[in-house]
Symmetry: D2
Subunit: 364 residues, 4 copies
């Protein structure tokens, strides 16, 4: 079957391999009349572009986006928006021996099992470059959310053992940190941690946190397409993510009901005293801030010698050369933000048909 | 939109409210020729039935399943299987005042926001009874998996602060524990913990773990319908679940690549030395044990006085009466198992079309 | 895969065999707040009920509908609506020998090829009784359309060679005809035609026409989910339908552009001088009357001797006993109406997200 | 919502406007290991390319396809195949005044109603050029069908009043006719008919017929995703198609059951004496030839003066200039063939999960 299409009403269809002709996405279901242009979409892509800090692969990729359809006179037409980034700087030579063996922590083995063979150049479709399509579509989704007064913000919460301190973190600082950490003190510690790991031919995992402000109450489709369920799929579908939490997440498993329930209070408007639930109750947004986190595994491509098996079933030692990120997290922040934005747009569209009175108003 | 249908090829459509006529599910896409009967499905439902231990609501519900279609002469016909549990023992009086206010930790407020009003009797559609449809369908999925040599096993990993010790846990012991904990020593501690909480009019969260044995390699549909993404959605869609992990989950965020990569080794067959990945790489099963966990929040219905707001925007104190579980986890174990089974069947079906040579063989 | 679920936002999931426990449908995606009750849905089902005229099988079936979920205090709650008609009057003996051979014009052979075996009692799932689920869901869709000022009306256009004369036809007369023909003169001729065929152990085909008034312009999703494409699938999915036309249909293939183009004219409002297009241009409704037709094959179950083959590959002669309609058309009229209504609701819901300005208004 | 994605397992996502940067399609769900290259796909596109006969627009468009992803070392990889035809020869000047009024028979008015504005250049997304994406994807589907021994052949059955004579028609002759008519005598008559219409600034409708050989029995998913229902949607979604028939289609409405039933006979193999059903019974293929027809309306763009209304609600006379086909049918033949092929592949894939025994064999 086909797994590269996502969404129900706001649907994206991504394509492309690391070392093929390009990477792209078709956005089907974007409403007509939305102002959009290439420079806006580029601003999203630039956030995941490599070669910008010493904590990302030094590959130089322009990752320049072109709009091929769906936009006319500066506005979306309601027809599919085709976005493409043509590949450049493919140094296939770096990857040629990968064809013969299975890199630990990569999908070489599972792709072979599934498809019989694989485009081994730069991990082919399972490369991190696949996320270019997600981010380009995320920019479109972000533009829609902006029209509706909704803002999605993701950032690095932790890298290895170093976690931000919420008392010192400020969203405004996020992009001052090369690691996209809103607590600049933690960021500096994490930078040193990563420099040591690079020296040691090693890599680090981390956690990305994402908050959504301005989300109206009433969005989410029980019982299977709950907002949190949809977000969990969206975020878990990003390569290297191994866990997803909503609100207080795994912490709630150790808590009592008295401590975990968010009491309602009315003080001019209905509010909750706390937000352990992360803005979602019964799978439906409650109008407060949505909070989620993604656990990201360490980059599996490390420069040190590793044991593995080749296609002739021989036990071998390998060294992975090439240009790899010591940590996936900072460049993945915008990917999480994009997948969340795409999912929210889809759910907001789905949510328009939940009440007969509102449908009648719409068609009056 | 409609959120009560799940799956692509193996599709389930659940329906029913806590205090309506019944709860049910239509399973569409079950292959023909599968032996199945009511007593088999009942055996799944009995695992989530209340009133069986002091750690579950004392409500007596028979939860007896009837097969209305899709089975002929003891085998499935390939047409939709309609399964229903008619409701009995509805003591609506217990719930009548709920209509006027919003219980903390419940979906009263969000349902009202979404739909304009709600069936407040026993939480209506957002009741835990909704999972009856999932479990009945899970039984059908389990029967398919059994034919394919695949076994899904879930159990309680922790309740509040009390966690199983893997050295003392044995799957065979799981059902000897009233809390469905495979470590009977931990189970006893957790029982005492819960008894204290009950006395204190409180409740507990916990963690459910699920392992899958016998899954073939090559299953999962990159990039959006990855096996782990599908499982994350499936499990997060269960009420009260606030986090999902695959393999080592959030732990990997603190690790280095050298520690986290699972090295391959060949010793007669290709194996991995470790399974930090939880049996899934690049969104595709690798043929080893699949491991996932769900964080379950404490039961929001607690007997002690709570603060909330009513529909007239008055700040009030409430006491929730009725018969509630002090912990959701033990009865939810079979729900997790069911959602995982349903998802695996769907993904196994999707996986049949990934290679042209196998399709040719099939249609030869 | 599963073929018994239909729709994207307004989704129906039907189930049931002719001689099983019952026939039903789950409607997922009906908005909250719609007034509905069993007697209203029953009024739709009564239109397809057998035993009412000499031109329908004399089987007596109550076909009494029960609402099992999704309605509370007389209004829909936004959660799935489960509707069931329990079977009665199953005279299985009539059908027992069908198990061994393939009836011409029936799906006995193809079901066996697909599923390996079949529920042969009364044609099982491929019985005309399957349409009960469609009609019950059609009643729900009809109620939504009524709220929006849209009216779907189907009727018999022809039976065998006898066709209505539009100059003599009046919609108001439709239900005065036992054949649901709005031209009562044609109806009488058709009645005599059918009586002769019954005497001759034969049956007749016919054409059903359906018109939709009040449909707003702008509904339909190019390029694959065009309104006409969606309607074509909806109607062709009804058993015995072998052709579907929109507007002037096959007639346009013989015409010139000058004759076929519908000229626009403004006389206080924008109108078309003609409606050859049947209310749909480029797959989108144009605000005028939608017109479609379905070609229905003659009932394959005829009492005369027929040649066929049994499961032992022996050439045999058979006589189909039992109680069969001499023509499918009159009872199928409400089925066409239902499938059209269901499809229109789904497309109206889909159409709510085509423009950014309207989405902003909705969420203001 | 989004209407430019088609299919369930073999999914295509098309994009592009007549005068935008290009037209393309992403094919998601093509199995790995299928040999494919640009020249093969080009051979399909060449069949719909304009400028090849006097019966098609003289526009010169190379319509050269490029494969951007999903193919490696000459075979598909199982990942999305992105195909693009960059536009050239856009003479936008021809179309500029179209922005201000509604052409009869076109979708100008309905697009404006739906989206608020439109890309008016060359009809934008509703141009016949949209079908490039369908045909490129159809080529991929055709390659899969070829591997399975299935052959789809479409041809012109009639143009205006001139219909092929089956006694004189031979499939081998189809491509000798500039009108793609397998009866060369009829073709000559039709050519003259068209030349007269061109002189008269007029255009013609016609009928396309399509036959499928080699389709296995058992394909199609009752009750809503029946093979004929899926084909009806596929074909009706093509612009200008106003009717679809399976087998004898509308003819059966005038027939009796005795005449219409296809009797089975065994003479070494099980066969049907006739094929009025067109190879589909109960929505499932019966292993015989599938036959369908599409009614195509006359080209709405005609050079003669027409009445219409502009955006200021003024009644005006217009003359449509530019380069238009006098008949859509011949170039649409390969579009019908493509949509049928795409649909058959999807249904063949869906059909792999109908029987438990075959699934067990597959996963053994």
């Amino acid at each position: 079957m086909s797994g590269s299409i996502y969404g129900t009403l706001f649907r994206i269809s991504t394509w492309g391999e690391s070392h093929g002709e390009g990477i792209g996405v078709v956005v089907d279901g974007c409403p007509a009349g939305l102002p959009i242009d290439e420079s806006y979409i580029q601003s999203y892509l630039n956030r995941r572009k490599p070669g910008q800090t010493k904590f990302a692969t030094p590959r130089k990729e322009g990752d320049k986006v072109t709009i091929l359809s769906g936009v006319f006179e500066g506005r979306t037409t309601g027809t599919p928006i085709s976005l493409v980034v043509y590949n450049e700087n493919q140094r296939s030579a770096d990857y040629s021996d990968i064809a013969s063996y299975y890199r630990p922590g990569h999908s070489d083995y599972t792709y072979d099992q599934k498809y019989g063979f694989r485009d081994y150049r730069g991990s082919g479709r399972s490369s991190g470059r696949e996320t270019i399509g997600r981010v380009a579509a995320g920019a479109v989704a972000g533009a829609i959310l902006k029209e509706l007064g909704i803002k999605v913000s993701a950032y690095t919460k932790s890298i290895g053992p170093i976690c931000i301190d919420y008392n010192k973190a400020e969203l405004a600082n996020t992009f001052s940190s090369p690691l996209v950490m809103p607590d600049l003190e933690a960021s500096q510690k994490a930078e040193q941690y990563l420099l040591d790991l690079i020296e040691d031919h090693n890599s680090s995992g981390g956690v990305i946190e994402c908050i959504v402000k301005g989300m109206p109450a009433g969005i989410g489709e029980p019982v299977f397409d709950k907002l949190d369920a949809a977000l969990a799929k969206a975020v878990m579908s990003i390569g290297a993510v191994k866990g997803v939490e909503i609100g207080d997440g795994f912490l709630v498993s150790g808590r009592t009901g008295a401590d975990n329930n968010d009491a309602y209070v009315y003080d001019g408007q209905l509010r909750k005293k706390t937000n352990h639930a992360g803005g979602i109750l019964g799978g439906i947004s409650d109008g407060t801030e949505i909070v989620l986190r993604a656990a990201v595994k360490p980059t599996p491509s490390i420069a040190r010698t590793q044991n593995t098996v080749n296609k002739n079933n021989e036990n071998i030692e390998i060294q992975i050369h090439g240009r790899h990120d010591p940590v996936i997290v900072p460049r993945a922040v915008v990917v999480v933000e994009s997948m969340v934005a795409i999912t929210l747009v889809d759910q907001l569209f789905l949510g328009m048909t939940s009440r007969m009175d509102r449908i009648k108003d719409f068609y009056k």
